[in-house]
């Protein structure tokens, strides 16, 4: 067992994957000599060389398009998009191409591509270094979307994503990179995209979250236990697409109340999908409205710190939302 930060766990997984499988290479902007702007690839260029840890030219469309081509030719590319905010130039390659390749070739061509994407609001990031993009891509059949919230999961899910024969968007909460720490076993099996994690068991209310918000949710749930004696079940979804519907429904059937928390903006956010699933499949178990705590519907997080804090849900906001729904 070793304690690691989220980003250390990601770096460890990359290192292990590069060592284990000669077909794996990583590419992206500044990921070589500089070790990535967040240092996720630090030391890997020195260890594996420029062929396998390759700085790309400044083109996201190129990074993903070249990644798709390499994956079609049976390599295992792990592409980094420096910030989720800059994934948009690659939208066509991801959505139009990677996600549709398998279906359009009737299973003839697979795209075993992993796209690592630091996402989410961080103080000082402003509109273009804070975006959450999960809902944009969760809408697209043919893509898997993974969002780890613990170091252990980050490591084993990244291995699982590399093994998966499908394109996987691997979203990393960059605000959590160094804030989130946890135990990581010496030996751990890869975890394929799919199952949710019951981060905290409880019978009073189900809280659904992922990424940074799952981390905050546990803090808020702990406080609700201490201050209000509430027993909140925290479900860390870990994979948004395909969604572990059984875990979501199972938790709701147990508690009767559902709160979804995401840092993405509200309208058409992934919380709406959870709410629809619960209403469709577990209507008779609901003891109250399905509540969503989200960022407000504005284009992106503002730079000013006061406005930023207003934008991003924090543990206090989650605690207040728990309290309100519990009292319903």
């Amino acid at each position: 067992m070793a304690e690691m930060t989220l980003i250390e766990a990601i770096r460890t997984a990359l290192d292990e994957a590069l060592a284990q499988d000669e077909r794996v290479f990583v590419t992206g902007e500044d990921i070589g000599r500089r070790g990535g702007v967040f240092r996720a690839t630090q030391g890997l260029y020195e260890k594996y060389g420029a062929r396998r840890v390759m700085d790309s030219p400044l083109t996201e469309m190129g990074i993903i398009g070249v990644g798709i081509g390499a994956a079609l030719a049976d390599l295992r590319p792990v592409c980094e998009i420096q910030f989720a905010d800059f994934i948009h130039p690659a939208f066509n390659q991801i959505v139009g191409e990677a996600a549709r390749m398998y279906y359009r070739s009737a299973g003839g061509w697979q795209v075993p591509l992993v796209i690592r994407v630091p996402y989410g609001a961080v103080p000082g990031g402003g509109l273009y270094h804070c975006q959450s993009v999960e809902a944009l891509f969760a809408h697209i059949p043919g893509l898997k979307i993974v969002v780890p919230s613990t170091p252990r999961d980050a490591r084993r899910l990244l291995h699982g994503a590399i093994l998966d024969p499908n394109p996987v968007l691997f979203l990393e909460t960059k605000y959590g990179y160094r804030q989130i720490r946890g135990e990581v076993p010496e030996q751990d099996a890869p975890l394929l995209p799919g199952p949710a994690r019951i981060a905290r068991e409880g019978g009073d209310l189900s809280l659904f979250a992922w990424g940074l918000m799952a981390f905050y949710a546990e803090i808020a749930a702990e406080r609700a236990a201490q201050e209000d004696g509430l027993d909140v079940e925290v479900v860390d979804l870990r994979t948004l697409h395909p969604l572990d519907q059984e875990s979501v429904l199972g938790s709701l059937r147990k508690t009767g109340k559902a709160l979804v928390v995401h840092e993405d903006t509200r309208t058409m956010g992934f919380g709406a999908e959870i709410a629809a699933l619960l209403v469709d499949e577990a209507f008779e178990y609901l003891d109250g409205p399905v509540k969503r705590l989200t960022a407000p519907d504005v284009p992106a997080a503002p730079f000013n710190r006061g406005m930023f804090d207003y934008f991003l849900p924090g543990p206090d906001d989650i605690f207040a939302a728990i309290r309100e729904l519990a009292a319903y």
């Binding site: 000599r33 270094h129 504005v298 730079f303």
Partner: protein
């Protein structure tokens, strides 16, 4: 002389103008240095620097009709913004993310310029997005002239669109697509490429297989020219030729100004892992501000005492702007909620 026929400024720079260019480069540099100091002290969250790029930016700005022609700059263009008429206080209000920040009211990172009155278009941080937009602005100039929507004598109307970006950013599809559009339609667009040899950590040699971005212009039927970007007068001359072509309806140009970033990429960067200290020091030897000062001293336009006087005046300006910005009110947090959509004009329901 075709130089004198266009509506833009003359190629011959008066003594006053030469000194004004120095004064603006100096102001940008001192604001920039102050921002780094404030960041080190933890008083501001972020800074992105123009240090080393001042000649490229001021030389470019002085070749167009400042405040009239459209400019679509990028985050590194502090000296350009200052040369276009933005004030020290404007910059400081953005740096401190104050409510009265004229560029974004505290929403954007510092140095994300926007000034409707001065025809400076708001930019994102996403590189190269501005290039097709600049082509669109140039298209609109062309269109409005041809449709008779503007009075040809009206000196308040823009006649070209200037956009700028780094050399690394010319690898984005948007750059190529915007350049091609401007080329095929012969639009009055000038693209200034501020080539500082790095895109964050990645050297130009790993970004493209050619030594000069200017050669890319040929693919788009644009004029391409490379110039010493640390020589403000050389940049001005090249940019002047480019602007005049645009004014005369001869299509787009690309001016590549070779320079060097004297600081890390931003206040979040540490450049020691990818640039040797010797390389950075060597660039400091040929940096544009000192060099231009030397030129002006040699020409007798500046004297050592005048240099000191300008330093003192600039420092006072920076001090005052910082003081006023720090004292300025923060936005209320809820102001983050708007404005998202523009209201419908009166009478439109």
């Amino acid at each position: 002389m075709p130089d004198e026929t266009g509506p833009g400024p003359s190629q011959r720079l008066s003594d006053d103008t030469l000194l004004e260019m120095y004064r603006l480069m100096l102001l940008s540099r001192r604001l920039d240095e102050r921002a780094w100091a404030l960041h080190r002290q933890g008083r501001v969250q972020f800074h992105v620097s123009a240090m080393g790029h001042e000649a490229a930016q001021v030389g470019a700005a002085f070749a167009i009709k400042r405040g009239v022609d459209y400019v679509v700059p990028y985050y590194r263009d502090l000296a350009m913004a200052i040369a276009l008429g933005c004030s020290a206080l404007d910059f400081m209000l953005g740096l401190f993310a104050r409510r009265d920040d004229p560029w974004s009211a505290g929403r954007q990172m510092p140095c994300h310029f926007s000034d409707r009155g001065r025809h400076i278009i708001s930019g994102s941080s996403t590189v190269a997005t501005q290039v097709p937009q600049a082509a669109g602005l140039a298209f609109a100039i062309h269109y409005r002239q041809r449709a008779g929507l503007v009075d040809p004598q009206d000196a308040t109307q823009p006649r070209l669109a200037l956009t700028s970006l780094g050399e690394g950013s010319t690898n984005q599809g948007e750059w190529h697509e915007g350049m091609n559009w401007a080329g095929v339609q012969g639009l009055p667009m000038v693209c200034l490429v501020e080539n500082n040899r790095y895109a964050i950590s990645v050297p130009q040699t790993e970004q493209m297989a050619i030594p000069s971005v200017a050669t890319r212009a040929a693919s788009y039927g644009a004029q391409g020219e490379s110039v010493d970007g640390n020589d403000v007068l050389a940049v001005h001359a090249a940019m002047h030729r480019a602007a005049q072509r645009a004014y005369r309806g001869e299509g787009p140009s690309l001016v590549e100004a070779h320079t060097y970033r004297l600081t890390p990429h931003t206040s979040d960067d540490d450049d020691r892992s990818y640039r040797s200290r010797e390389e950075v020091a060597a660039a400091g030897e040929v940096e544009p501000l000192v060099r231009y000062r030397q030129t002006l001293l040699e020409r007798g336009l500046l004297t050592p005492s005048r240099v000191d006087e300008l330093e003192a005046r600039t420092r006072a300006q920076v001090d005052e702007a910082q003081r006023a910005a720090e004292a300025a009110p923060e936005p209320a947090p809820e102001e983050a909620d708007s404005p998202v959509l523009a209201p419908l004009p009166e009478g439109l329901t």
